[in-house]
Symmetry: C2
Subunit: 379 residues, 2 copies
């Protein structure tokens, strides 16, 4: 069903629910799945170099069509040799379609059946995104995986509004496929439909019925409960059945959610959570989360996580990091980000091992208990 | 004359004016001189890890008594094993005495013959620094080289005020020596006296006559002209004669100034300039300075300096850095800082080579011409 020359996906089922242990092949390398993609919104995972990302174990990262097209612009990146060369990351890159960011603009955008007109958050200038323009931008960026242009809505809106947006997303999916550049770039379609099982099933049929290289689940982690998220993933998994394409849960990245989703067949994740909370001083370990701004850490000579091999834990104490955060030193943001990205990618690595050697359930129970507090909060 | 058990200094004269090519030995390693010390105000050279500093070629760095004593406090750093361990830098460290920062507080400090009472810039709390407390703090920090507590004044003040502050500095120098902790920590005295030759000569006699391990020149680069700075360094060099101790010019770090001072016998420098301007987008090369925020660089696919081996130049284009600065991305500050520290330390390395192989004058002429614009500005 793939229309990309290079893109490929293989996996084996596991004994853990619908969890799959797989591998994705792209023009810039392979990705062992399930895997998490750090988010490089503006052509950088905030505070990190490509070398930092490699050292943290990153296989694939995400770039943002909305942000990159406003600045430095997709045309400029194309003139400079594409996004890989521009940001000096030679591994696989997935670009989103701009849909999520545009719909986050709330009262600064106007949707019609053809596309969306919106006002730039940078300078107030007016821009337009359509499925065709989103495909053009992503082709200029040269990502390994592009995403279809979709319309995200608040799942708490009236059912008719959720259904309208979903059906527009289906029409835009077909236009995205028709407008794709060809060549080596893969294209994933996006399932919408909020938390309504009937709408989700309709969306799976509409999207999976098209010649996409992968299937994404959009519209989750936007305010619904954890139970609603899991239930929706069950509906999607049932409807997808044995569809062999990679499945990508967009915008989800809290540690317990990885397990919830992997058991429901998800192969890929992205989220700004690990990097965003790091910059506030919140770091993640197997014991849960820890806020380095807490007064107690000012005299704590131990590293964030003695078992962690990241640069922050190898060289620095909690006391030093607590000082850097209190002093608003730039190094604080980098070291905490290095730790959270390293730990999160390490968690996915252990999750993959767990699917192979049977230790998965123990890991899930340990992490879920440690992060229980996090689950009950809006993050 | 040295009173430190480990500290040592050796040098050979050169054919370039009074320039010396030397080596300083400290408990944490040796420093080839002349050398520049990057400034780690709050126990970090802003945005850099110790590994970044090593890779940039740093031999010795500076820490700030004023800042570190307010936060996280000298007592806390001592409990955590000292400044080297706290910031994970195992090379030599020089700490200033707090004098410069306290006198920068202007109307928030009150000087008497015993010391200075001042109001913290962090929380408005009242603190006191005396020669004895400055020595205690620096002993708690455990730096390799401590500085005597001095009173800096604006050289444009009436001569009597400059003389009063200078003579107080001499009395405080004797108290600093008497209060020093002993052990391996070396102690440098500081020459003051503004730009008045008679006062400077008096200050050299008063400071060099005491049992310091090194001699610093304070009170320059605070508003005087480049000609006044050079003239004052001539007066100091004449008065010091063949004094064998290392000579440290405090707070000076613009590329042409290195040559002006080295030819007048200076061995050590520190300055926030290379790191501070980097965070505004100004980077230094053999061709002079370059502001990465300039529109022209947005489409420039070449690195800052094709001949530079730093991480920024090895991996990234001016266009990418121009984008990061426009997007206020944290990575911009780090990459520009890595470049400026690498280039500045590389310049001192080439200056040392030049003193040995006769290429010094060519290097000086090239750099002075390239940075001529910088010389005429307040930096």
């Amino acid at each position: 069903m793939s229309t990309s020359a290079t893109f490929a996906h293989s996996f084996v089922p596991t004994s853990i629910g619908r969890a799959r242990r797989g591998r994705i092949v792209t023009p810039h390398g392979e990705i062992e799945t399930p895997e998490f993609m750090p988010v490089g919104t503006q052509a950088t995972v905030k505070s990190l170099t490509p070398g930092d990302l490699r050292q943290a174990g990153a296989q694939m990262i995400l770039g943002n069509t909305y942000h990159l097209n406003l600045r430095p612009t997709a045309e400029r990146i194309a003139r400079l040799g594409g996004l890989h060369r521009f940001m000096a990351w030679d591994g696989p890159i997935l670009t989103d379609s701009g849909g999520f960011q545009v719909f986050s603009l709330a009262d600064r955008r106007q949707v019609d059946d053809d596309g969306v007109t919106f006002v730039s958050h940078l300078d107030g200038s007016t821009h337009r995104l359509t499925p065709e323009r989103s495909m053009e931008i992503q082709s200029l960026l040269g990502s390994d995986v592009a995403m279809a242009f979709d319309q995200l809505v608040d799942p708490a809106l009236p059912r008719a509004d959720v259904a309208d947006a979903m059906r527009r997303t289906h029409r835009w999916a077909a236009r995205s496929l028709a407008a794709r550049g060809g060549g080596d770039q893969a294209l994933f379609g996006i399932i919408q439909g909020g938390i309504d099982p009937t709408l989700r099933r309709e969306s799976v049929d509409a999207v999976a019925g098209q010649a996409f290289d992968g299937i994404a689940v959009g519209g989750l982690s936007v305010g619904e409960s954890k139970k609603e998220m899991a239930g929706t993933l069950d509906v999607v998994a049932d409807a997808l059945g044995d569809d062999p394409r990679p499945r990508y849960l967009m915008g989800v990245g809290s540690p317990p959610d990885f397990f919830t989703a992997v058991e429901r067949g998800i192969d890929l994740f992205d989220c700004v959570l690990p990097t965003r909370v790091a910059r506030t001083g919140q770091v993640w370990t197997d014991a849960g989360r820890m806020n380095l701004r807490n007064a107690a850490f000012q005299d704590d000579a131990t590293p964030i996580d003695p078992s962690c091999a990241c640069e922050a834990c190898r060289n620095h104490s909690r006391a030093y990091l607590a000082h850097l955060f209190r002093a608003s030193e730039l190094l604080a943001y980098r070291l905490a980000t290095i730790h959270n990205v390293t730990w999160t990618l390490g968690l996915l690595h252990r999750l993959r091992i767990g699917l192979e050697d049977g230790s998965y359930s123990q890991l899930r129970d340990q992490i879920s208990a440690a992060f229980r507090r996090l689950r009950s909060e809006a993050v």
